[in-house]
């Protein structure tokens, strides 16, 4: 499996993701500058965390209009695994590939801590190697991660099984219904605020993230 990791100016979790894909999962993986991502023959694509374009206007809003997104959109439509982590999730929302909005944390603070996450569905490209209702542990580190949608959209996402992960126990950001990750209709596009790449090596305190990335291999 060949996996592309897109770099935007301000991405800062790109190398971490590459490290996990290449060294821990032994996948063919490459960092690609956003302007150079013009090939949709990749099997999967990761939009890493960071502060693309300085988070100006809104987190992810400018990257959502970059030329790289055209190919990301094509891959999403082809049913290939697309994962947005943290800022990558914000970009997927701003690009309209995922619904809703990510607003500033209710506590008005940048929250950086380990969280427990409940897997709400194993029907997604990034949770199919995990059991529904199981709990995994992973850190979050963001300022705008409070998922917002109106009641109709929230109910729709819940009924359709598109809420992928929720915070178990404490809700660290005031996110509606504890939502930490959602997917598109097909389940191949997933956006998540927690950082699986920071929990994919025992030296960093956890390896649950490997199951998130590893799910791509099971997904078809």
């Amino acid at each position: 499996m060949r996996v592309a990791v897109i770099q935007f100016p301000g991405s800062n979790c790109d190398h971490d993701a590459l490290q996990v894909l290449t060294n821990n999962l032994k996948l063919e993986s490459k960092l690609i500058w956003h302007n150079d991502f013009n090939d949709s023959s990749w099997d999967a694509v990761i939009l890493p965390g960071g502060f693309s374009f300085g988070d100006h206007l809104r987190a992810g809003a400018i990257a959502a209009h970059s030329s790289a997104i055209k190919n990301v959109r094509k891959m999403a439509n082809d049913g290939k695994p697309v994962l947005g982590i943290c800022n990558g999730f914000q970009i997927l929302i701003e690009a309209g590939l995922l619904p809703g909005a990510l607003l500033r944390n209710a506590c008005l603070k940048f929250v950086c801590k380990w969280t427990n996450l409940r897997i709400e569905t194993s029907h997604s490209a990034f949770t199919c190697a995990l059991d529904t209702n199981s709990t995994i542990r992973m850190p979050i580190a963001h300022n705008e991660g409070r998922f917002f949608a109106d009641e109709d959209l929230l109910n729709h996402l819940t009924t359709e099984g598109r809420v992928v992960m929720t915070y178990s126990g404490e809700n660290p950001t005031g996110t509606l219904r504890g939502i930490a990750a959602i997917s598109n209709e097909g389940g191949n596009v997933v956006g998540m605020m927690p950082h699986p790449e920071r929990a994919s090596d025992a030296t960093l305190g956890g390896t649950d993230g490997l199951k998130v990335f590893g799910s791509m291999l099971k997904w078809s």
């Binding site: 206007l57 809104r58 809003a61 959502a64 209009h65 929302i93 701003e94 309209g96 619904p99 809703g100 909005a101 607003l103 500033r104 944390n105 209710a106 506590c107 008005l108 917002f148 949608a149 109106d150 959209l153 005031g174």
Partner: protein, 86 residues
């Protein structure tokens, strides 16, 4: 004959989306200092743009079109108001 118009675009959270910044300002500053008559504060973002257009109406339409085309706001959570200054 086009001329330059100054247009203000105000982006704010929809009423049903909590605005914790506004809540903090009213709770920890305004009410603590005795301005009890203030009942609500909502924060937002202001963009002032200069735009070439044929009339005030045209300037407003063009600005609105850009806001929607480029998603200068997220319609799920935000509302915008566009007003032409001159």
């Amino acid at each position: 004959m086009n001329q330059l118009f100054s247009v203000e675009i105000i982006i704010s959270n929809k009423p049903q989306a909590r605005d914790p910044e506004g809540e903090t300002i009213i709770r920890d500053l305004v009410h603590k200092t005795g301005y009890e008559s203030v009942k609500e504060i909502r924060t937002g973002k202001l963009l002032t743009i200069q735009i070439d257009a044929s009339s005030q109406e045209d300037a407003r339409d063009r600005a609105l079109l850009m806001c929607n085309d480029l998603r200068l706001y997220n319609p799920v959570a935000h509302s915008i108001s566009v007003r032409v200054r001159s």
